[in-house]
Symmetry: D2
Subunit: 325 residues, 4 copies
């Protein structure tokens, strides 16, 4: 399944086209809506107040409730777009955002409003695509589940710790980052290859780094391998329950770029939301002079919790690719 | 430049084919040999004693010392192949290695000798390909340089610390892992895209995870972002020396999947060498019973230092891809 | 520029997503509409009476009239969809159409109404994409132009011959095929490669065979080469006007898969419209018995003239791919 | 199975790397050699006298006689290379050959000897790759077979007509072209897709146009469709032998880019050998003046018969791609 996500934060609509969708998959719209709702903003004190229905309109590829195998296009209209908030940022790139990189990339023609095509809002169609992927994987008994593994440096935070860290940053006109740990269960051994373009970790990371704010990806023990010795890092094999397993899973279910039959496990780092209320240093791209910038409007002091279903979506799409779907 | 690396540790030869090489690049063989020598084993107490000439034979794509634009194939003959060391491992997959995953992947038909196609020896043709990439990048004033940033949990180790850690592990019949940090300098802003398949971090990680033993990749502050606040993580812009720069480079030169004109910086984790002298638990794949395994022969107690030119090679190939070469 | 065309004849909308569009291209909507009008049906006695506004709605990738470099999605709503005409064809595949192949492909879940995703109507978004490609090529002084080179076996027909052939077939409840010849002017020598996936003829033919009804593609003399001798087929070189040219262009501007600086010229065969009013033999897919089929409704007795802008569109997209855009 | 063919006519070796080969395929070397022998020159009066052993050396991807799933590299050494024949052609591009296009493409750095990478000799590794593909298809009861369908304008020539046409051209210091018709039997209905990059005709043509001298490709009736009416062109369905079939196969087994269960049939045009003994007009690329050129040495006055196994090889590779192998 190849996919292209399109749209801008303040354009008329955002969406996704999925190519090579298997035919005959029942498109469980309740499930899809529930996945979109997990990502949606405005549900509590930790998120922005922007509210979008995020109701996908299926334009193609579905007939009588099932996928046809033809390209599936889904569109979500943009309704709550307060463009005025952003117009004065046109020449003042926001630190930590893609404003400047995108300005050069688009030769000055980019849609700067609300991050344009770089906006976190574009993760809505990604979650849609991931929900379709999950429906396909469900039929193969493959599941994808992610959870917050770190917020503001706190490993495996409780809801109270999470709330405290986020509200603390908000009070300081600041933001926090974190980590998400994800597990794909039910994959057989032997998928992938050691070679460039075909190995499991490469396929997953390609999808994961396409999620805005992801800056690091580690499989199994990840960067923890640096401080381990081989005797600890190696996962001993055992014959158990009629199959070959490993007693530990430091390798995250992958050896030599190939699944080994254990759960595929990885962690990603999510950078702190770049939009903070404090005054920041920037450069005026029109006058080419140093300048000060204050970002107004309401912004998430933390996006880690909202990124959980997005990471699952990226992992579900990667899993489909790995399975040759 | 597309590339395919082929060969097995104990087959007749290993090599690489490079497609879409720009025409007219002078193939500086002294440079290529010096890169291969950086990776070669057997040079000191820290490495295995296996010695290979690693002299590449160019079969195609080069005429009168310059690339022609046609596919470039280079082959390195295998000469020092002591297959007997490995024959008894056929049914006993080594923990931490790809033996079991590869066994399933190849439906039992894989070349199990010395890791076969999964062997670290396959990084020799990768270094060759990377050397060609570096020669191309040299003409564009783009440089790639990596260094050890961690060994056995010790950040930025001195040579003495490195030696002590490695020899200590060796004495314990064990091995150590580490990290490598790499910088690509000279890239303009605006390369890449936020989208799947085209973003800078995705392109680099695809190449990096194809290097055996790499288990994690982080850009800029990487997993360090989890404990940072936005006010610290954001790189403030400044107008300096006639160009837009950032005062810090926590983003590793990439925002929204696009280069921002600063150095592209990333770190990878290298798992400890799985081949250790201690007895380990495994499963006999022929009898499907639990078994014990002792790996004989000489093996690197640490490959981090040898992996430095390999990571540079992968980064050079990724950079060429990013530049549309 | 990668593109995915989506939609079904009787679905809610059809459209296209273009990825990797160069930034800063002024989107001349008058030109785009004029290209769509060239393809539109219902303009004279030779075409079906179905009328669609074919007004594209740009959802993304364009800001203040210019492309941004982000994925460009354009949608054309389906308005004139008389689904009842088709419902009784559900189990009776129409000879010459993709009904049966599509039925198997979609595991019986396809949208059978009006050809679904296989409908010639899907060439509207293709013409849209081609118009964008032409606007890009215009800035590089590259032009694409096609013409009818054969109708009903008549080479280079006059409008009168064309009309006579088409109306004659219509009177016989039949249809006619033909050929279209296309020229791409302004390409430099040296583009392409001899190798699989990169050669000029391969790139063009990949795009051309994706046009419904195209069943053959020939470059330069095409199948005429079979009856030529080398002394006639070879295009002699000459030094003329300060450049290397060939006196003839039997090679169609391509040698060894690479442009030689002359116009790229090719011809495609368009099969006769499969929808004819005569009774035809088919199989009832529900009962698995032989059956008779009569296609009702209004259908083009010839689509060759309407296919001219479609072939230009495919050629413009191929040219962009060849140029690395 | 992705493949890259490398080498030059007068370089040290030619070969191919196949990636993603299924594991466990017995590599029947007798069959592979017999396929290479079908293509080899020097076997009768119709071919050049150049003799090469064409013995492939397998460097990788095969263990104990079976494929391992790892990249398979095969190399054929060049032994009979009379480079002196070609040195004086360096600045005189041969009409009909890729010399000039390749000169520009390689920025003057190409290996001009004997056509270099453009040489028909490069079809030897293609036949090797095709033989591997045939061995894979054999296990699925899919067969590929081609035959000469035209020589020098004579349809379906007898061996006597073929010999007469070729020897007649040779006597005139000239050459002849022709056509090859190929059939792939045993494919199920439903493979492919109507969309760009995935449709059957596009996939096949991509492989076929990568064969030197192929200038046109038509499926089923091909260009013959232009003179047919729909009532003749449409293939009526029938229920026969417990399956849906068509009474005729003008569509060549493909509708809407998807296999319909009938044999996939296509024809290609092979241009006359550009190397002829007559004096020809060219341009001296060093002096940029018009010049005369006489090609010496022995050349095939016809390559159509030698191209038959090459077309089969390209079709076998295309079939594997279509099957998702």
């Amino acid at each position: 399944m190849k996919h292209i996500i399109f749209g801008e934060s303040h354009g008329s609509a955002i969406g996704v086209v999925l190519e090579n969708v298997p035919a005959g998959v029942e498109l469980d719209m309740d499930f899809i809506r529930s996945e979109l709702a997990r990502r949606a903003p405005g549900r509590n004190a930790l998120s922005t107040a922007r509210r979008e229905a995020d109701e996908p309109r299926i334009l193609s590829g579905v007939f009588e409730g099932k996928t046809t195998g033809a390209p599936l296009c889904a569109v979500i209209e943009n309704t709550d777009t307060r463009s005025k908030d952003y117009s004065k940022l046109k020449d003042l790139p926001r630190p930590g955002h893609a404003d400047y990189a995108g300005y050069i990339h688009s030769e000055g023609c980019g849609d700067y409003r609300g991050g344009g095509h770089f906006s976190g809002r574009l993760t809505a169609p990604l979650v849609f695509a991931g929900a379709v992927a999950k429906l396909i994987l469900r039929e193969m008994d493959v599941t994808v589940s992610a959870r917050i593994s770190n917020v503001a440096g706190i490993p495996d935070p409780t809801p109270e710790q999470l709330e405290e860290a986020v509200l603390g940053a908000k009070a300081d006109q600041d933001s926090v980052g974190g980590c998400i740990r994800c597990t794909v269960e039910g994959l057989p051994a032997g998928l992938g290859a050691p070679d460039y373009g075909r190995n499991v970790e490469g396929i997953f990371s390609q999808h994961l780094f396409a999620v805005p704010a992801v800056k690091a990806v580690g499989f199994g023990a990840g960067f923890g391998f640096a401080a381990m010795r081989g005797s600890e890092a190696n996962d001993p094999f055992c014959w158990e329950g009629g199959e070959v397993r490993t007693r530990t899973n430091h390798s995250g279910g992958v050896n030599g770029g190939i699944t080994n039959g254990m759960s595929v496990e990885f962690e990603v780092a999510i950078r702190p939301t770049p939009s903070i209320a404090r005054e920041q240093d920037t450069v005026n791209l029109a006058t080419l002079e140093n300048a000060k910038l204050t970002i107004e409007g309401r912004h998430d002091p933390c996006i880690v919790h909202r990124a959980v279903p997005v990471i699952e979506a990226a992992a579900a799409l990667a899993t489909c690719e790995l399975l040759g779907l």
